[in-house]
């Protein structure tokens, strides 16, 4: 009897709006404490929330992308609890009528396609931050984050391993970034995840008691925390204990989870519809307007790359997973008739290496798609070799000159003049008679030496494949 791990994920994606969900304050990260907190964010007496309508567009985009139901009417409810960084004493969230429900997300694990149901995605406001240790015997409150719009995306408990959980999360992360509804920055807390974890014997139809694990702010921690928590639960049960329903905090330093609050301490949130806000109504026209400009999902993009461009599935994934990289790749393909595999290789290989060395992103790369294309064209027409192209890209990174200009200025063009090559080759064969004899005796490896000599004579500008071919022809003829 083996153990099965059952995982459901709750993801908080910060929606990419410039102002807060219920006030006009800026949502920019990293400002001086409490400089982005208006009367509404401070919950002064008498203030009222007004919905930032942009959040509806962003939520609808996700709803469409996960093929979910978009509620024609959904409502904001108040979740009541006292906490110092929750200034109203309640959080405005959605309860029994979320804006999105019943979606799906697909991902691939080890070649196997998996589909996870998404129970719901609802809008809510973020809390502020409590800062401990800034002042002696006091906690400081920063309300800059208070009222930042969040979309909480809740999956069904259908994930069966930490690896699956991470792959689902990466797919979702990639999706919200591709849609442009969330910047996905996990360090800044724009994309946060809580995991509901339980274990059961594989043949048991009932789910085990779950714990909710919080503070998972990287993909690596999600995997480690789930594995730790599942092992802990199995250990408890195998020693005859029972799992208590509770909220646990992951400690990445010690790689363990600890009790944060037990079920007995759980709040009664006393949800009720917020009388300050009208129900949200979404019309079919509104949905159609958003659908018209909806970016392609990463999943569909990967399929298209495989089908239309014939790139490998690994390359398709790398290109499609980053919105910036896919925009770059497609720009290259639009501007040329180059082989997609060649373009993919160079973006993933050399260009990425250059980008990683500097601190720019691909969308800000000084080698814009046109410039990369001009280099690849010179490889394809054999003006330069791959090795030279690497060198050329390096030069282009720091220069505004065109590829052809640099090839001319630096004398990088490879020799493909047959007549010239024939001359060098015949001279080489004359100068190395014993090597020629060895070749003819069956020691075919010696060909490398002879080709190498030609390359040396032409200062590397000859096309090695061409030299090899010509050399073989000459050797056959001199039999």
């Amino acid at each position: 009897m083996s153990w099965e791990i059952v995982i459901g994920l709750e993801v908080h994606a910060q929606l990419a709006t410039s102002s807060k969900i219920f006030s006009g304050s800026s949502t920019e990260y990293g400002a001086k404490a409490n400089t982005q907190a208006s009367a509404v964010d401070l919950a002064l007496p008498g203030v009222l929330p007004v919905l930032n309508k942009r959040v509806l567009d962003l939520a609808i985009m996700l709803g469409l992308a996960i093929d979910g139901e978009i509620a024609s009417e959904s409502i904001f409810s108040r979740k009541n609890y006292f906490y110092p960084d929750s200034p109203k004493g309640y959080q405005i969230s959605q309860y029994d009528k979320p804006i999105i429900s019943k979606g799906q997300l697909k991902f691939v694990n080890n070649g196997e396609e998996k589909m996870i149901n998404i129970t719901r995605a609802h809008l809510e406001e973020d809390a502020g931050k409590s800062l401990h240790g800034e002042f002696e015997r006091s906690t400081a409150i920063d309300l800059n984050r208070s009222g930042t719009p969040l979309l909480e995306i809740v999956s069904e408990p259908e994930l069966r391993s930490a690896q699956d959980a991470v792959l689902y999360l990466k797919e979702l992360h990639c999706l919200v970034r591709t849609l442009g509804i969330c910047d996905g920055n996990m360090q800044e807390g724009s994309f946060r995840c809580d995991a509901n974890v339980s274990v059961r014997k594989a043949e048991d139809p009932e789910l085990g008691t779950r714990t909710e694990v919080k503070n998972l702010n990287s993909f690596r921690f999600v995997e480690k925390a789930i594995n730790y928590e599942a092992a802990r639960q199995i250990g408890v049960i195998e020693e005859g204990g029972v799992i208590k329903q509770e909220t646990r905090l992951y400690d990445p330093e010690k790689n363990e989870t600890r009790t944060m609050r037990s079920k007995e301490d759980a709040h009664d949130y006393r949800y009720f519809p917020d009388p300050d806000l009208l129900p949200i109504t979404i019309t079919a026209e509104h949905i159609a307007r958003i659908a018209k400009d909806l970016p392609e999902t990463p999943w569909n993009k990967r399929l298209r790359y495989l089908k239309d461009y014939g790139v490998s599935s690994e390359d398709a994934e790398i290109l499609a997973n980053s919105p910036e990289t896919s925009v770059y790749f497609e720009a290259c393909m639009r501007k040329s008739t180059l082989s997609p595999k060649l373009v993919a290789n160079w973006i993933i290989g050399e260009l990425s290496a250059l980008i990683n060395k500097s601190s720019v992103t691909i969308s800000k790369s000084p080698i814009v798609p046109e410039r990369l294309v001009s280099v690849l064209k010179r490889i394809e027409d054999e003006t330069i070799s791959g090795k030279t192209a690497k060198h050329l890209l390096g030069l282009m990174w720091d220069s505004s000159s065109s590829a052809d200009q640099i090839i001319a200025d630096e004398g990088l063009g490879q020799v493909s003049d047959n007549e010239l090559l024939e001359k060098v080759i015949s001279q080489t064969l004359t100068n190395f008679p014993s090597q020629v004899e060895e070749y003819k005796a069956g020691k075919l490896k010696i060909l490398g030496f002879l080709v190498g000599h030609v390359m040396k004579q032409t200062k590397g500008k000859a096309n090695p494949a061409m030299v090899k071919a010509l050399m073989e022809k000459n050797l056959r003829q001199s039999k």
């Binding site: 009367a39 401070l42 919950a43 002064l44 007496p45 008498g46 203030v47 009222l48 929330p49 007004v50 919905l51 108040r78 009541n80 006292f82 110092p84 200034p87 109203k88 004493g89 309640y90 906690t139 409150i141 009664d268 006393r270 949800y271 009720f272 009388p275 300050d276 806000l277 009208l278």
Partner: protein, 489 residues
């Protein structure tokens, strides 16, 4: 000086130069200083600010940039946030709170050039029907200082009645404009929910709260309502329905108008003498040409319990922000966050507020929500349907505003439910969101009796016309509790 009797008179006097806004403002401030100690209708009087505003108003008058209401003094219930002025909502919790912003209606009345005399007393967080729950002490009824002025806008009602201000703002969650208007012998209008912005009005029960004007006559209510009413982008529940020229449409024949008399409102809880006054008023409307028909509002008896469940639920959440963290009262030397919350809120809130917070928390609790909050919302829908049905036959519904005249101070203090039952005629229009007007209709034992007219949605003009025509023919609104010249020096 002899104080003018109405806003209409004030506008004429300012336009003709009979008096300046500064003279008028000074006279009102003097009267407050001299006579209010006996009434306690103001929490804060803004002497300097009022005189400065009056000076600016006089300047606008002389250079021709004045509006109709420029230089007209008024008072704000202390539930409306006023920038730079203490705004308490009648609570110790906000004793030190100086608002950094103006409520929308304060801004709108200010931009008309009106002069704010001060902030009027009220039940704590507007929870009460007698003005006895204020942290700043009870307000006394100017007609008989042993009696309550009603609540929660008791300060505004008493101040208007005593001639401390020509008009005042009030707020009405379950009758808080109409019942004190009735008890103090003045006029008061609770507009349709959404007609007047709630932004900057300290919330009691968000789905019921509505600001409105209080004054000596319906005509004065119309003057004040015009700048108060209208859509506000800062309040999602405010309505985009167009406003009307409320003072321009007051005169209209009542012939052909139908007024409904709900049989359920004339029950055993109604004082016989009050009933007699209302019957006389009904005859007056018939004389003016209106057609009176009996109607039925079968859900009437359910409105009090539904109201106290919904209003308490909402206030338990609305008042959570008073936690001692950011502003307002904070207990001394809290040992931890739990202690901070407990002591701050135990010390800062009065008994009635605590009672409602506990009730509200209870009715929203898991396991009780369906039995109380959900059921109350279902009743609320039935009440709405009752009225919608009635308004297919009638232009307005008539009733007493309250079952009795102003009662003696302290009478219901030991029995809150008895106090709540006094709201039986007023809470239904809040639950349904309908506009309702209270006007003086006579006296019982020297105390004024209020008559209530409930209209359909956004029919404020129709209600005001009914009220105005009644006032033109009866003159009950011209009985004043204090002599006009007393204490103005």
């Amino acid at each position: 000086m002899n104080l003018p009797n109405s806003v209409t008179e004030i506008i004429q006097g300012l336009e003709n130069g009979t008096f300046s806004s500064q003279e008028l403002t000074k006279a009102y401030l003097n009267r407050i200083d001299n006579l209010d100690p006996e009434i306690n209708s103001f929490i804060t009087v803004c002497h300097e600010r009022a005189l400065l505003d009056a000076k600016n108003a006089d300047r606008s008058r002389s250079n021709g940039s004045a509006n109709k209401l420029t230089g007209v003094p008024y008072a704000n219930k202390d539930i409306f946030c006023t920038k730079g002025v203490r705004t308490t909502s009648g609570s110790k919790m906000l004793d030190t709170f100086i608002s950094p912003y103006d409520a929308t209606i304060v801004e709108r009345l200010g931009s008309q050039g009106m002069v704010m005399l001060g902030k009027t007393n009220m039940d704590e967080f507007a929870m009460g029907s007698s003005n006895e729950t204020s942290f700043y002490g009870q307000v006394n009824n100017p007609w008989n200082t042993n009696c309550v002025p009603g609540g929660s806008s008791g300060g505004s009602a008493a101040a208007v009645s005593a001639g401390f201000t020509p008009v005042a703002t009030g707020s009405d969650t379950g009758g808080s404009i109409r019942q004190p208007a009735a008890f103090c012998g003045i006029s008061g209008l609770k507009p349709t929910y959404g007609r007047v912005s709630r932004y900057g009005m300290i919330a009691f029960a968000s789905s019921l709260d509505q600001a409105g004007p209080m004054g000596r006559s319906v005509e004065d209510l119309a003057h004040l309502l015009s700048p108060m009413a209208g859509y506000d982008p800062k309040d999602s529940t405010s309505s985009m329905v167009k406003t009307e020229d409320y003072s321009g449409n007051l005169e209209d024949a009542l012939k052909g108008k139908t007024i409904g008399l709900p049989k359920e409102y004339f029950s055993t809880s109604l004082d016989r003498q009050v009933e007699g006054v209302i019957e006389e008023a009904i005859k007056e409307f018939e004389k003016l040409g209106a057609n009176i028909v009996e109607i039925s509002l079968p859900t009437t008896s359910l409105s009090i319990p539904a109201y106290y469940v919904i209003s308490s639920a909402e206030c338990s959440s609305n008042l959570s922000r008073y936690d001692g963290v950011r502003y307002g009262h904070r207990c001394e030397l809290p040992i931890d966050i739990e202690d901070l919350y407990k002591r701050t809120r135990s010390e800062g809130f009065g008994e009635e507020v605590k009672r409602r917070l506990l009730t509200g928390t209870y009715v929203l609790s898991s396991g009780y929500y369906d039995a109380y909050y959900r059921k109350a919302q279902q009743i609320r829908r039935l009440i709405k349907d009752d009225f919608a049905n009635a308004f297919t036959q009638v232009d307005a519904v008539i009733s007493p505003t309250a079952p009795t005249t102003a009662f003696e101070t302290g009478k219901h203090l030991d029995n809150p439910v008895e106090m709540y039952l006094g709201d039986c005629f007023t809470v239904a229009s809040n639950l349904a969101g309908l506009p309702a007007l209270s006007i003086p209709a006579g006296f019982v034992g020297g105390m004024p009796v209020g008559l209530q007219l409930i209209g359909s949605y956004f029919q404020e003009s129709k209600l005001l016309t009914l009220g105005h025509m009644f006032q033109k023919s009866t003159g009950w609104h011209q009985h004043f509790s204090r002599d006009d010249s007393e204490g103005t020096q």
